[in-house]
């Protein structure tokens, strides 16, 4: 079952908004993910190298203090590291997802390709007990009977009851569909469900729990004729997912992120256009995803690309959003719900 969503009686009223550009040790950077550590500090991971798919692409991590100060950054995982640990050839790395479990262990799931392109990917998992400096227990998640081909991750996991974890994943070879993978406390796969969707190709699900048994998944749309964010819902804690149809916000085949805030509302970060990723905007829903209200525009520039958002909320109520900036760097924006409430629309 999904965990009960905590609705704090005290909502943070202070308006906080700060934005930083993370270090750019490589020419290219993409697909960031944020983990909140028990001390309130953050670890932001992304893949970076000469260019997407290049042999030198590795998983980089930057440390962000609880006060928002950018600390050091390091190469957390290289292609060579992973292939030595998994005892199999690895040609490409991508899409890291980092998350700190309730025991304080930093977990990372990462996409890797041995042969072919992204649609030949598989997911590997690693753990870190020292805040992401070193990584152990590398293992492969086997999620497909066809040579374990074409399962990928992108969005943040959801903690489940009993120490389990729900990991949104997706299949990309040929037809695209979303997956909900249930992992036990030690990271083993104990269940996998497909997200029932309307006709079309849907990928990169992001899941927001609504209560102990209900959750909403929003998905990137890879069918141009549809061109809108898709949705699926569960009412039995993730046992079965039914199509909720497109939600009315355009999607240019671009990644998105949705989370449940402490006050019970939902916050979505997406590129709301039919074409291009030039505008990254926030949307809010106070009715469990039935309707969405445009909120702040985080980044916008003609011809630019601001994409692949990741959203998390710290226990102190500060919301953190990371995203790819022009495929050259990662930006991190931190704000409170009060900052969102200052504007009804951009």
């Amino acid at each position: 079952m999904l965990p009960a969503v905590k609705h704090d009686a005290q909502t943070i009223t202070a308006v906080v908004h700060r934005s930083v550009e993370l270090p750019t040790p490589t020419a290219s950077a993409h697909a960031s993910s944020i983990a909140v550590l028990p001390d309130g500090s953050l670890r932001v991971a992304w893949f970076g190298g000469a260019k997407e798919g290049a042999a030198d692409v590795g998983i980089w991590i930057a440390a962000i203090g609880a006060d928002g100060a950018v600390g050091d950054h390091w190469l957390a995982l290289s292609r060579g590291d992973l292939q030595r640990r998994l005892h199999r050839v690895i040609r490409i790395l991508g899409n890291p997802v980092v998350w700190c479990d309730p025991n304080g262990v930093l977990r990372m799931w990462v996409v890797s390709v041995s042969y072919g392109g992204w649609s030949g990917s598989a997911i590997s998992a690693l753990d870190s007990g020292d805040g992401g400096r070193t990584w152990d227990h590398a293992r492969r998640l086997v999620l497909s009977p066809m040579f374990n081909l074409s399962t990928l991750v992108r969005a943040q996991p959801v903690p489940l009851s009993g120490g389990a974890t729900g990991l949104p994943a997706y299949h990309e070879l040929g037809k695209k569909w979303g997956l909900w993978v249930r992992l036990d406390g030690s990271g083993h796969v104990c269940a996998m469900e497909r997200l029932g969707m309307a006709a079309g190709n849907w990928l990169q699900p992001s899941v927001a729990p609504l209560d102990e048994s209900h959750a909403l998944a929003l998905l990137r749309c890879a069918t141009a004729e549809v061109g809108a964010i898709g949705s699926a819902t569960t009412s039995d804690g993730g046992g079965m997912w039914n199509s909720g149809g497109p939600i009315g916000i355009p999607n240019p085949d671009s990644g998105l992120a949705v989370i449940t805030l402490h006050d019970g509302s939902l916050l979505l970060a997406a590129n709301p256009s039919k074409v291009g990723r030039a505008r990254l905007q926030l949307f809010r829903s106070r009715d469990r995803g039935a309707t969405w209200t445009p909120s702040r525009t985080v980044a916008q520039q003609d011809g630019a690309e601001y994409s692949y958002p990741c959203l998390v909320e710290s226990p102190d109520g500060v919301i953190h959003l990371s995203y790819t900036r022009m495929r050259r760097g990662i930006s991190l924006v931190s704000f409170t719900s009060a900052w969102l409430d200052e504007v009804a629309a951009p």
Binding site: V142, F147, C190, A191, G196
Partner: protein, 206 residues
Amino acid sequence: MIVHAYYGLMAQCLIVTAVARLARALWWPKTPSFATLEVVIVSALLLLASVDGISLAEHLRGLWGDPSVTTVGILFAFVLWPRSLPKRPTRRGALVVATVGSALLYLPALSGLTLFGMDPYSLGYAPWAIITALLLASVALWRIVDLVWIRLISYAMLAYGLRLLESDNLWDYLVDPGLVIGVVVVAFVTPASQGTARAEPTMASH
């Protein structure tokens, strides 16, 4: 992890040895055969020869992953203990198994189709229904099916209990795409009167 790696790397050595022996049996049947020595030589080559910093076996493992326990059992028998393989015709049964296996597991995995809204592969993560069905089928078919198949399935379930493979899914211990392809090839290529035993090397070292 290390157990998974040992299993996966040794399985690659077994696959290559089996392919080499099959090729020799088909095209050079009169050459002498030394099964154990061949396994050692192939394993040494695959595990010690390095390309891009990793062994050839690790390259193969990246290419097609780890085969099922059933496949490894068949390859092991084919290479080192060919007399244990069934001698009876297997063409029809093999085709049925391959067809049902493909329809159940691989078509949904490729096309996004489900059976009655369910992905049969996902059943393998909580496989009590599959285990029960296999046990019942084993009892029912005890006198009809060659005991070697029941033995292989038992090994697969034991390996699943020990989590010998990376996978947490029982299907991956029972079947893999290579096994399905192999079964179809054997069913079509070999004469019905000889079944899988047709490919046995003429001079086994045992």
